[in-house]
């Protein structure tokens, strides 16, 4: 079992200091546990501000965690620095949300792609031939190599960004909303491309998105985040069919259904209010001010993430007795 785990995160926390205050902290990620198995896709879903992007950057050590541990292939990389960190980054890459800002506007596509190859001293033979071949992987051609990012469309840019991430043949990629800045028609192509690459290079994905249907389409398992915590974690299909946590139920109820007949017959549940500030999260369960099932216990004690069925975890007192 543990051989199969590529990445494991234990009680990871990231608190940002609030400017001009000594005691106030933004609890962007507040005690998160999960693991990702080799070759699978773990999706993270949640509304904006719930800490999913911060979590992605934490996992890649782009920002230093406040506390907690990160294991990659069984090795603790929480404190990795210098060469060790670079070695980790050779195996773990990221695709960013906005392809317009994730490519340096002053560099040609070829020089952007050559950077990791040159730095990690990967022997590729003739660089141009190699790059041309790589471009085919993501559906681009040799003619795009010597263009500047602004000469490409959004979808093409994201393809370049994806290629940059896989060019060192990493094992693990964090996909931080890779499609949310793109047109719907292009989104589908990019998702297909990602799936295709995953099969080809047996990649492991951590897929972050606010779009629960996209996450479901991409992921084997998914985690629902609310205010810096995972509230529900489980295999995608059962979680989608039968959500346990009230927040997940709300999220799923908000997914549009293409057939108006079914949509009309669907039970309408609307979520009340705004998510509370992560600077000062409510005591007890963080969701209780908006939760219709809130009990006394929810206001006092924070529910732990417990396994209610095989592989299905939920942090809610409603299921604590089982």
């Amino acid at each position: 079992m543990s051989e199969n785990i590529l990445l494991e995160v234990k009680d990871l926390k990231k608190h940002f200091r609030v400017r001009g205050s000594l005691t106030k902290k933004v609890r962007a990620v507040d005690g998160v546990n999960f693991y990702i198995k080799r070759g699978e896709t773990l999706g993270f879903v949640g509304e904006s501000g719930c800490g999913k992007t911060t979590l992605g950057r934490l996992v890649l050590k782009l920002i230093e965690p406040t506390s907690g541990k990160i294991f990659f292939e069984g090795k603790d990389i929480t404190k990795a620095k210098g060469r060790e960190l670079k070695e980790y980054w050779r195996n773990a890459q990221m695709v960013f949300q906005d392809p317009h800002t994730s490519l340096n506007p002053k560099m040609t596509i070829a020089s952007i792609l050559l950077e990791p190859i040159r730095f990690y001293k990967i022997d590729v033979g003739d660089e141009e031939e190699f790059l041309a071949k790589q471009m085919e992987l993501v559906g681009l051609g040799r003619e795009h190599l010597y263009r500047y990012p602004h000469e490409l469309s959004g979808g093409q840019k994201q393809r370049v960004a994806i290629l940059r991430a896989i060019i060192t043949r990493p094992k693990f990629i964090v996909l931080d909303e890779p499609t949310s800045a793109l047109d719907v028609s292009v989104q589908a192509q990019i998702l297909e491309l990602l799936k295709d690459l995953q099969r080809k290079f047996s990649l492991t994905y951590m897929f972050i998105s606010h779009d629960i249907s996209v996450v479901k389409y991409m992921s084997n398992r998914m985690a629902v985040m609310y205010l810096g915590k995972i509230v529900e974690l489980g295999p995608s299909d059962p979680l989608f069919e039968n959500p346990l946590h009230p927040y997940t139920k709300f999220l799923l109820a908000a997914v549009p259904i293409p057939d108006p007949k079914i949509a009309r017959s669907r039970e309408k549940i609307l979520i009340k209010g705004e998510p509370p500030s992560p600077i000062n999260p409510p005591p007890g369960c963080r969701f209780h001010p908006r939760c219709p099932f809130a009990m006394d216990k929810c206001r006092r004690e924070e529910p732990p993430l417990i396994e209610v069925e095989r592989d299905r975890f939920v942090a809610c007192w409603l299921y604590a007795s089982k």
Binding site: R57, L60, L62, K86, W89, R90, Q93, M94, F96, Q97, D98, T101, S102, L103, N104, P105, K106, M107, T108, A110, E115, P116, F119, Y120, L145, Y146, R147, Y148, E151, A161, R164, A165
Partner: protein
């Protein structure tokens, strides 16, 4: 202005052809870049003010390079020794007057046009070198401050504030009173250094004491010149360093220095380039005013500011032509850089460039 565009295009393609010869395939690989350059050339050729500025700068550059060589009167020969009447001769414009210097003479009876040729070289060299030395210092400090943030940022920027608050004139005065003796010693003992700086300023090696004075105001200016750059660069870096492509570069394994110079610098350099051209104008005037105040070189060096201050004693009765002519030269030199900087800002600003790009497309269709 079409001939400017054609000329610049020719230069671009000459350069591209040269690169192609060195490494075949260069043109194909850099076609996007060449297109970008052509666009810049086009944008520049469409700006009459910029073309004028460029022309002025080009002419001053040529004059600065060949001036001391073509100057028909050595600045170290005082004609008044032969005849006192040579002092402050009025302009002598044909056809009513022939045989005397065209625009008159200065205090020592030297032809004022011949002297200005030396002066242009000195002003040009000082202003360019001050900016070229001062800017990188500011750029590097600004890059580090902006990128590292935190304590490093605070420390660098507070030092910058101190230098900004420090009056450059006072520092120049202090330097002018202390440094020349030391630099003179160094020049005296080192003949290579002496020859180098004499050649740079277009002066005789025998004037090394004056060269020492020039170098000291030079140093003073370099020391007070960088803070502006540190500030402007730091500000731009703050917005660039949050861009995802910087994080992507980190993930590509690049070191901090490579990120700074490969990713951050190219994205913050355009406002700096514009500021540099404007600053060359300011430096020209600043250096001239320092020597006007007597902090720079003394006799017989024909520094423009110094000649003007000398002429001031006889102003306006006998020397107004000297003040006017040399003043106009300084004005035009500064104006040229300012106009060029203005055009450069339009070319390098992506927002205005879009509009130019659009116009170019439209014109091509015609």
């Amino acid at each position: 202005m079409d001939f400017i565009y054609i000329l610049l295009k020719k230069i671009i393609w000459k350069y591209a052809g040269l690169r192609e010869k060195i490494s075949p395939g260069w043109i194909q690989k850099n076609s996007s870049r060449i297109r970008e350059w052509e666009l810049m050339a086009y944008a520049y050729s469409r700006s009459p003010i910029g073309v004028l500025g460029g022309l002025i700068v080009f002419v001053t550059f040529i004059l600065a390079v060949i001036g001391p060589m073509i100057s028909w009167e050595p600045y170290w020969e005082y004609k008044i020794i032969i005849n006192e009447s040579y002092r402050y001769m009025p302009p002598c414009l044909p056809p009513s007057c022939t045989g005397s210097p065209l625009l008159g003479t200065d205090e020592w009876g030297r032809d004022i046009i011949a002297m200005s040729l030396y002066g242009i070289r000195i002003s040009f060299v000082i202003s360019i070198v001050v900016v070229v030395l001062g800017a990188p210092l500011g750029i590097i400090l600004g890059l580090i401050a902006g990128y590292k943030g935190g304590v490093v940022d605070e420390a660098i920027m507070r030092i910058t504030d101190i230098f900004l608050a420090f009056p450059g004139l006072v520092l120049a005065i202090a330097f002018a009173s202390v440094l020349p003796q030391r630099i003179r010693g160094a020049l005296e003992s080192n003949s290579i250094l002496r020859a180098f700086f004499a050649g740079l300023f277009g002066l005789r090696e025998a004037e090394y004491a004056q060269i020492a004075a020039l170098l000291s105001i030079w140093l003073a200016m370099v020391l007070v010149w960088w803070p502006g750059y540190a500030r402007i660069v730091r500000g731009s870096v703050l917005s660039i360093r949050e861009m995802p492509f910087i994080e992507a570069a980190k993930l590509s394994g690049l070191s901090t220095w490579s990120i700074l110079f490969r990713h951050v610098l190219p994205n913050v350099i355009s406002p700096v380039l514009v500021m540099m051209t404007f600053d060359i104008a300011t430096a020209t005037l600043f250096a001239a005013s320092l020597s006007f105040l007597g902090l720079g070189p003394q006799e017989p060096v024909p520094e423009l500011g110094f000649l003007i201050s000398k002429a001031g004693y006889y102003f306006p009765e006998r020397s107004s032509h000297v003040v006017a002519f040399l003043g106009i030269i300084l004005l035009v030199m500064a104006l040229g850089w300012n106009l060029l900087g203005d055009a450069l800002r339009d070319i390098l600003d992506p927002r205005t460039r879009r509009a130019i790009e659009y116009r170019m497309e439209k014109e091509k269709k015609k």
